[in-house]
Symmetry: C2
Subunit: 329 residues, 2 copies
Amino acid sequence: MNKQIYNTHNRDDQPFIHDGNHASDGSEPALASWRDGPTKRAILQFVEQVTDRNSPTYVAPAKRIAAFDNDGTLWCEKPSYTQELFIIQHFRHCVEADPQLREVQPYKAFWENDRAYFKNLTIQELGVIIIQAVSSSLQADYEAEIHDFFVHNQHPTYHRPFTETAYVPMLELVCYLQDNAFQVYIVTGGDTDFVRSVSEIMYGIPRSHVIGTSVEIKLDVRDGQPILARQNKIIEPFNEGTGKAINMHLHIGQRPILSVGNSDGDIDMLHFTTHPDHPTLPLLIQHDDDEREFAYDTGAKKAQEMARERGWHIISMKKDFQRVFAFED
Amino acid sequence: MNKQIYNTHNRDDQPFIHDGNHASDGSEPALASWRDGPTKRAILQFVEQVTDRNSPTYVAPAKRIAAFDNDGTLWCEKPSYTQELFIIQHFRHCVEADPQLREVQPYKAFWENDRAYFKNLTIQELGVIIIQAVSSSLQADYEAEIHDFFVHNQHPTYHRPFTETAYVPMLELVCYLQDNAFQVYIVTGGDTDFVRSVSEIMYGIPRSHVIGTSVEIKLDVRDGQPILARQNKIIEPFNEGTGKAINMHLHIGQRPILSVGNSDGDIDMLHFTTHPDHPTLPLLIQHDDDEREFAYDTGAKKAQEMARERGWHIISMKKDFQRVFAFED
C-alpha cells in the first residue's frame, strides 16, 4: 500500500521533489547499496525468518512493524538538524518583520547567528523553542511555511535540497521491508508536521506513519469551515527516550519487531523492540564515515555501549554502506 | 494491505472469532446487503468520482482517508455499550475478590446492577469510571481481561458473541473502500485498547487504525523487559466531539474524505470531513429499525438536524439495509 502511495503521489505541486528511493523497481537485488557483511546478512536473514510461513519464527504481516528514527538514521543531521535551520529562518523572518525583537532572546541569538547560545541545548530545550516558533498559528500556515523552507533552501555543506540528504541504503531498507509487507513508521523526536511534510516524497512513508513530537491542537470554525490552530503546548511525552515507546503504543498499538536508531534517544525504542517470544532486530547506526558523511558519537555513546552489551547489530556507515547519498554518483 | 492483514491474521489463538466480513471474496457485487436507493448510489458514485484518474475529482490513494465511528455505526450499541458490559463485569470481579467494596460507589451500583445509577451518565462520565476500572494495571493484563470478556460473554438480546454484532452493510462498506485503496480508520469515543482487541478480526481494520480514548501509559522495566503500565489519567482530548477531529489530525495527519457516524458526538468528525476543495461524503446512520435492531434518536437529534441542514447523507437502517446482521439468515 505504501508503494502505491509513493508511486501515485501527485508531485506536480511539489517542485523540490527528488526521487531518492531507488530500490523499488525490482531490477536490482535487495539492499544493493549495502556492502556484503554481517549487518546486511543479519537483515536479509531476519526478513526471511519472519516471512517464511513454514518457519516457527513466522510473523503475520499485521505484526510486522518497523520503526525508524529520522535525524541521523534516515537523513543527515549534521552540521545541524534540518528542523533547526527551519526554525532559525522562521525567527529571522520574525525579526525582519519586527526589528524590536533583535534585542529579545531567543530572537537575538537567531538574528546574530549565535551558535554558542544553541550549542548546549538538549533536544527537549530545542523543542520549547520550536513551540515558541510555531504557537498560535494556523496549522495550514505552518505547513505552508515548512513547504516554502524545503523549496528555497539547501543543505549547507552538500549544497543539495534537504530532500536529497537521505541515506540511500536506508531508503532501500524501507522499501525492502515494505515489499515484505512490513508497516514502516518514522518515530522521531522532531516535530511531527515537519517530518510529515517530506515523509511521502522522500521515503514513501505516508503521513499517518510519522510519529513525532506534536503540539496541542484546537479545532476552530472560520467562515463556517473547521480549521486547526496550533497551541503553545507540547503533547507529553516528548517523542524521545521512553516517549518513543509510549507513543508507538498509542499510535500503533503494538511493538515493532525491527527498529533503527542512532543515538541515546533511541535506546528505549530499541529496547522496546526486543522481545523474548519473537524474532526481533534492533539496529544502531554508527556515524563513523568522516569522508562521505560526518564522524561523531556525541549523544550516542550510551546507545553504542548498550548495543555491545545486548548484541544489537551496529550499522557502520563506513563499512556497511556501499554509497551514502544518491548525489555521490 | 488491510485485506492482506485480514486474510493472513492468525486465528488459532482467537476462539471467539466470527468471520463477519462477507464482501471481500469478489463473487458478489459491491455493497450487496444495501438496498438500491439514493444512499447506496451516493456511495458508489462518490467512490467512482475519487478513483477515476481522468476525473477532476480524482483523489490520490494517499489522501483517501475514511473514518468510522464504532458504537452504533459499525456494531450494535444497544441495549448497552459493549464496553459498559465489560466494565460491569470488571467491577463485579473486583467485589467478588474484596466483598467490602459492595458498599463503595461505583462498585455498589455495579454489584446491585443499579441501572438508575448509570442511566444519566454521559460518555465522558462513563470514561472516568472506565479509568477507575483499569488504572494502575499492566497493559498486558488489561488486554488479557478484554480478550477473556469477548470469549465468555454474548450480546444480551441477540445471544450471539459480540463479535457477531457488526452491521453487515457497514462491513461491506469498509471492504469496498479498502478495495478502492482507502485507508479506513475507526474513530471511537470508546477505549482504544478495547476496540483494538476486535478491530482486525471483526472489521479487517488493523490495530494501528483505531483512534479512541486512551489513558496515559508509563514505560517500566521488569526482569529486564520493558513493560507498559496504565496510568490513572485520560489523554486529552477525550475522543468525542471536537476530540475526534483533533485526534485524527494527530494520528493521521490529514482530513478524511468520507466519514460515518450516528450521534451528536460525531458532528465534528462529519463537519471536519467536509471541504470545499475536494469531493467529500459525510454519512449519518439513523437507527430507525425497531424490528431488526433498535429504534432510537436520543443523543442524535442535533446530528440529524445538522445532516438535513448541510445535506449530509442519512443512512436509514430500515430502508437502506437489506439485512442488518450476519446471523439473521
